[in-house]
């Protein structure tokens, strides 16, 4: 306990660090009383009280009086004066949800593992409950939510608002997600493909910042891409542009869940990698592959490298088509870093048409698994900024 309580650094230099500690603790817990803040950060109650007072005057924190164990207390949350925005990302096996203010500062975050083949009704129910719960934690109400952005790992049909190709996300076929959620939450809801939103987030606050032409490749259970053209995410005529995972790279290859054969996703996607590793490694999850590969497991390194090679070939075709400045590799498997990205670069270098100097540089995404969630937040903020009744384009 003694070392936990001791404040690090000298008297003059520690104030900044202590402020950061307090803000970090509130971010992690959503909201805390001052007494609890002292426990979590290891700072003295007096210091906490001073810093909270200072930060609430500076509109960083917000305090509400409450009672705990019969005593009066100050409940501290991050300030969200201008209203909140929720971003939700459904992937094949996870749901991530973030509440942020309009300055993109995330004030509360949650992650939930999902069942394989999850169903829309159940998951949207849970999302509604979870958003209400998180708002409650922040001592905010649903009225303060300006908009909700949702990222779905399948191409969305712009006209109908449903998934454009049945079979890709089986439990969600034919569900107009935005409409259903709008009815439940009574707030404006905007839905887009998760790779598009991942690209949007990397473009705004991540690795593709300031690039006018870039590609975001999402490598996870499936493979998707978001195309950035002229500083805008390109959605195509129907809204299903960037279905990179379903480019055919082997004409009579393995069957894909979309119904075709030889899609990139069926050869280099997460499911395919797991299936290839089954005989030697047994039951694995995507995270395990990355962890093991980083720990030097030859089988996993090889599996990732092979996937990277296939992705690189497809990425070279894409680069030849529209000459991006930068390729950002994101998604669950991108955590493997150069183990995956090295082979992508190598394969791309061989088949790309431009000379070495004008080749796109290939980098790891900066936002990791949260890219699409943050993209959904940014998407919702943008939609609100131009007014909820304006035509979404």
């Amino acid at each position: 306990m003694a070392s936990e309580r001791r404040t690090p650094g000298s008297q003059t230099s520690l104030r900044e660090a202590n402020r950061a500690r307090i803000v970090d603790a509130i971010k992690k817990h959503g909201g805390l009383t001052q007494v609890e803040l002292a426990g979590v950060t290891g700072l003295s109650p007096a210091t906490v009280s001073n810093i909270v007072k200072e930060l609430s005057a500076g509109k960083v924190l917000h305090t509400t009086p409450t009672t705990q164990s019969g005593r009066r207390a100050q409940y501290v949350t991050l300030a969200h004066a201008l209203g909140l925005v929720a971003g939700v990302h459904f992937s094949t096996r996870h749901m991530r949800i973030a509440l942020a203010d309009v300055a993109h500062t995330v004030v509360a975050e949650h992650h939930l593992p999902l069942a394989k083949d999850h169903r829309a009704d159940n998951e949207l129910d849970r999302t509604t409950l979870l958003i209400a719960d998180m708002l409650d934690n922040l001592k905010a109400s649903m009225n303060e939510v300006l908009a909700v952005g949702i990222a779905i790992p399948a191409p969305m049909d712009r006209k109908t608002g449903t998934i454009a190709h049945s079979g890709i996300l089986r439990g969600w076929d034919g569900i107009p997600v935005a409409e259903v959620m709008k009815r439940r939450l009574k707030r404006p809801v905007f839905v887009d493909n998760s790779a598009n939103l991942g690209a949007f987030a990397e473009l705004r606050i991540g690795a593709a910042r300031g690039k006018s032409d870039a590609v975001y490749i999402d490598v996870g259970d499936g493979i998707g891409a978001g195309l950035v053209i002229n500083g805008q995410v390109y959605r195509g005529f129907n809204g299903s542009a960037g279905e990179f995972g379903h480019t055919t790279i082997q004409e009579n290859g393995p069957l894909c869940r979309c119904g075709n054969r030889g899609c990139l996703e069926a050869i280099a996607g997460g499911y395919a990698i797991l299936e290839n590793l089954k005989p030697t490694h047994g039951n694995l999850k995507l995270n395990d592959i990355v962890t093991k590969a980083m720990g030097g497991d030859a089988g996993c390194v090889r599996a990732l490298a092979e996937a990277g090679r296939h992705i690189g070939v497809a990425a070279a075709n894409l680069s030849n088509l529209f000459d991006p400045e930068r390729l950002v590799v994101g998604g669950e498997l991108s955590r493997a870093g150069e183990i995956l990205i090295g082979p992508i670069r190598h394969a791309l270098e061989r088949s790309v048409i431009v000379d070495e100097d004008s080749m796109p540089d290939i980098v790891q995404g900066q936002l990791g698994a949260r890219a699409a969630t943050l993209g959904a937040v940014a998407f919702a903020i943008d939609r609100v900024a131009i007014g909820p009744n304006d035509k979404v384009d």
């Binding site: 306990m1 003694a2 070392s3 936990e4 992690k28 817990h29 805390l32 009383t33 007494v35 609890e36 426990g39 979590v40 705990q68 164990s69 096996r93 949650h110 992650h111 939930l112 593992p113 999902l114 069942a115 394989k116 083949d117 999850h118 159940n122 849970r126 409950l129 979870l130 719960d133 998180m134 934690n137 797991l274 490694h281 047994g282 039951n283 999850k285 995270n287 395990d288 962890t291 720990g295």
Partner: protein, 273 residues
């Protein structure tokens, strides 16, 4: 993250199950609760046990916890054949069990609950050491507990579950058994517990999850073992099985092909010998 690597290295994923049950049977008077139940649990794997009410899930857990002794069958733990006569023996082996009612003392704070019966200190309690250890443990689990010095009664359902799981980890177990960890929890708390289960798995522990909630089971488990009327009725890998298949195995709508083939095989062997 820094703590995960050495822990994972200590329990590498191996081909040998860390816990293996063979032919476990148990009856209470005239009631045959378990008949010939087999089960394997590997390190770094989450195995869900599902079944209808009265399928024998709780009895199986109680046998592993040392509450009941099995009438027949063998338990092999870490390659050695063992008996589990008492709950203390289970704990000494490295089997930790979190019961459905959590068995926490509401009036005590988090630290006292974690170290209840295992207090640190010779003649006086070493509160500092215990509080430090509590924080380390809760941080490892990325637990959202605001304070370790508040009574457990004032924590939410998910936080209590976290405390119960943290307590089970104090003896450094190899297998953690969770009985209905998400029953009666809200969505946010369920999310916390499911993340916790993934966390245990990443640390290389074998996790046994008993649950009625198929969505939770499919979200975190690697394998699902179905019990029906005290017998094995299927052992599925989650990636290969659909919700409907699990439900039909639970209700008995289908005989399980694997079990049927295995029993046919066994009876064939019996007739040969």
């Amino acid at each position: 993250m820094t703590l995960e690597a050495p822990l994972a290295a200590k329990h590498p994923l191996s081909k040998e199950p860390v816990l293996s049950l063979r032919g476990i049977s148990k009856n209470f008077g005239a009631v045959q609760a378990l008949t010939d139940v087999d089960m394997d649990i590997f390190a770094g794997e989450v195995v869900a046990i599902v079944g209808d009410n009265g399928a024998g899930k709780s009895t199986l857990v109680k046998i592993l916890a040392g509450v009941h002794g099995p009438d027949a069958g063998t338990i092999v733990f870490d390659g050695r054949r063992v008996t589990i006569p008492t709950p203390a023996a289970a704990r000494a082996l490295g089997l930790a069990i979190v019961f459905q009612d959590l068995s926490l003392c509401d009036n005590l704070d988090v630290v006292s609950n974690l170290f209840l019966g295992r207090e640190v200190g010779d003649f006086t309690l070493n509160e500092e050491e215990m509080e430090k250890h509590s924080w380390t443990l809760l941080r490892q689990l990325s637990a959202k507990i605001p304070s370790v010095r508040i009574a457990v009664a004032s924590l939410s359902g998910g936080q209590r579950q976290t405390v119960a799981i943290a307590r089970s980890l104090i003896g450094d177990p190899q297998v953690v058994i969770l009985d209905e960890p998400t029953a009666a929890l809200g969505v946010a708390q369920t999310a916390e517990v499911l993340n916790l289960i993934e966390n245990l798995r990443e640390r290389g522990l074998g996790v046994v999850l008993i649950s009625h909630n198929m969505a939770d089971v499919q979200a975190v488990a690697d394998r699902v073992v179905v019990l029906r009327l005290g017998r094995n009725n299927g052992d599925f890998r989650i990636p290969d099985v659909s919700y409907e298949e699990i439900i039909s195995a639970i209700t008995g709508a289908t005989d399980n092909a694997v079990t049927r083939r295995a029993s046919a095989h066994e009876s064939h062997e019996d007739s040969n010998s």
